[in-house]
């Protein structure tokens, strides 16, 4: 039927909405430090766990966190996966590793990239260190750290992951 070619079955209606995001107070403090190349966590006054990146509260206790703790940029791999899907605007080529990393002195993991490693060699408990972008590129963002790379330290046993002190892991 010729009428069929006249039927409109869908329309494209682009939606453009502009948002001006602000970080919360606690993330703002955190990001201000990150811009200077310093990693800080916040400690819960009730359970004493250190959160990074901090969001201003301890989700377990439901209380505000104030106390700031400076943390080194060494971490332990808590878990990871090998990804085959590229990241837009990121030069890293698949397959690459993203991992949940716990910084020394922190009690919670955050997700970041691993590189300068053999994907097959990555394992839970592995010790890694941040590789930062050049200082002149630093901004208010955790991707001032380009990625983490393995370092020559003994693995952390599974039971100790998330409990390594700020001073580091002696092995």
């Amino acid at each position: 039927m010729s009428q069929e070619t006249d039927l409109i079955t869908d329309i494209e209606a682009p939606v453009y909405l502009s948002y001006n995001f602000t970080a919360g107070r606690a993330p703002t403090r955190f990001l201000t430090q990150v811009k200077k190349g310093v990693l800080t966590g916040q400690r819960c006054p009730d359970c004493a766990n250190v959160y990074i990146p901090p969001r201003g509260s301890c989700p377990a206790c439901g209380v505000a966190t104030q106390e700031e703790v400076v943390l080194p940029d060494k971490a332990t791999v808590q878990s990871f996966t090998i990804v085959s899907i590229p990241i837009p605007n990121n030069p890293i080529q698949p397959p690459f590793v993203i991992a949940n990393l716990v910084l020394d002195g922190a009690n919670i993991a955050f997700i970041h990239l691993l590189s300068e490693c053999e994907n097959e060699q990555v394992h839970i408990g592995q010790r890694v260190q941040a590789v930062w972008k050049p200082e002149q590129e630093w901004d208010y963002a955790l991707d001032n750290i380009r990625y983490f790379k393995p370092i020559n330290e003994t693995d952390v046993p599974v039971a100790m992951i998330g409990r390594v002190p700020v001073a580091g892991w002696e092995g």
Partner: protein, 387 residues
């Protein structure tokens, strides 16, 4: 103390990548009309409508209940819209049931849906969050490390996930509504499919589907007005925990365990594997079957994979506790509806109305949904017998 309530009508749409033949309103109305027909009722028999769906950005319609009011015959009636991330299909069913269980209404219609083809769900799930490192990880990137940890703890053989992927697609081949129709799927085909986030291969992950699911829930005194046997609601539970906190057990979330314990207590279930006839469980990535078998108490810690390997959860292998006889989320995944599809399919089983994927003699079934970073859980138990 709660009033008795039962599912008296169920309606679903055929799940597929793109329903280009209906608008969003048309999609939800189709499911709703199917549910009313199933219950032999009309729009005037519905006192309130409860809808649910996942983030509005999946279709680009803000607070769609305003727009969908007319398609669902809701002009002049109460309308509520639930949103609890991926578990929303399940929690919507629970909120709908509470309308009747609270004694406030006698009969309600509940619909969940997703028309992901109209926007870009994958984009909505992984838009760069302000002030966060953009890894485009998506849901798989979040769950893959947790799966690896399960594999490490349980020392499960590497092909357990693939077996689930095959089993659920074979179940789906019995279900004419299923998005993925793969009656000839093999373990080898799954193993050779593209590895997305190790260890999750393409064929071990859920599809992205358009679809809607609806149910009519009624009070005990109105059940007889509908011709088919009702699915009595025997237990309802929801639990939430924060996405991340220090010491959180991510492989076997406490919220899931607590939610299951609560719903089992209400339904007088002491041994889920023995007491239940089947379960429709939210498994979007294959390895979540063994993990949830443990989380939901069907197997001891570290033992879930053994049930899968033994064929206990397979209809085709004559397992004693079929899981996802409908094909589950691995076959059809309209995100906002997936949870309700689990609840509705559990209800179909105990009504003896599941067609070619019927578990013979099923009288007690579990419906399960989860969402977010495996932090929102919603479950119900439905039975053929009036409590």
């Amino acid at each position: 103390m709660a009033e008795l309530a039962a599912v008296v009508g169920i309606g679903q749409t055929r799940y597929m990548t793109k329903r280009g033949d209906v608008s969003i309103a048309g999609l939800v109305r189709e499911a709703a009309v199917n549910a009313l027909r199933d219950a032999d009722l009309g729009w005037d028999d519905v006192e309130a409508v409860i809808i649910g769906k996942a983030p509005d950005m999946f279709e680009g319609v803000v607070m769609p209940e305003a727009y969908l009011c007319d398609a669902l015959g809701c002009n002049g009636k109460p309308m509520l819209r639930v949103h609890t991330a991926g578990s929303v299909g399940g929690s919507t069913a629970l909120v709908a049931a509470s309308h009747v269980q609270s004694g406030t209404f006698k009969r309600v219609l509940t619909v969940t849906f997703e028309k992901q083809s109209e926007s870009n769900a994958m984009w909505a799930l992984s838009t760069p969050q302000p002030f966060a490192v953009h890894l485009n990880a998506g849901a798989g990137g979040y769950f893959a490390p947790i799966i690896r940890e399960y594999m490490r703890r349980s020392q499960a053989p590497y092909d357990v996930g693939m077996k689930v992927a095959v089993k659920d697609r074979l179940h789906g081949a019995r279900n004419p509504l299923s998005h993925l129709q793969k009656p000839d799927i093999t373990l080898r085909e799954v193993e050779e499919s593209f590895m997305l986030w190790d260890p999750i291969r393409f064929l071990e992950a859920c599809p992205s589907s358009d679809g809607a699911c609806a149910m009519v829930i009624a009070s005990a005194d109105l059940v007889a007005q509908s011709p088919k046997p009702p699915a009595w609601i025997r237990g309802v539970a929801m639990r939430t925990e924060p996405t991340m906190y220090a010491g959180r057990e991510e492989v076997n979330p406490q919220a899931g365990r607590d939610c299951a314990a609560d719903v089992y207590r209400q339904a007088a279930i002491s041994d889920p594997r023995r007491d239940l006839d089947c379960a429709e469980v939210y498994v979007p990535f294959s390895w979540y079957e063994p993990m949830w078998l443990e989380n939901l108490g069907f197997a001891g810690e570290g033992e879930g994979w053994k049930l899968t390997v033994a064929g206990a959860t397979s209809l085709d292998e004559g397992g004693d506790i079929p899981w996802n006889p409908s094909g589950g989320v691995l076959c059809s995944n309209p995100i906002g509806a997936s949870g309700m599809i689990r609840f509705a399919e559990a209800a179909r089983q105990v009504r003896g109305d599941a067609g070619a994927h019927q578990v013979e003699g099923a009288r007690l079934a579990l419906g399960h949904a989860y969402g977010g970073g495996a932090q929102f859980f919603a479950m119900w138990v439905v039975g053929a017998d009036k409590p």
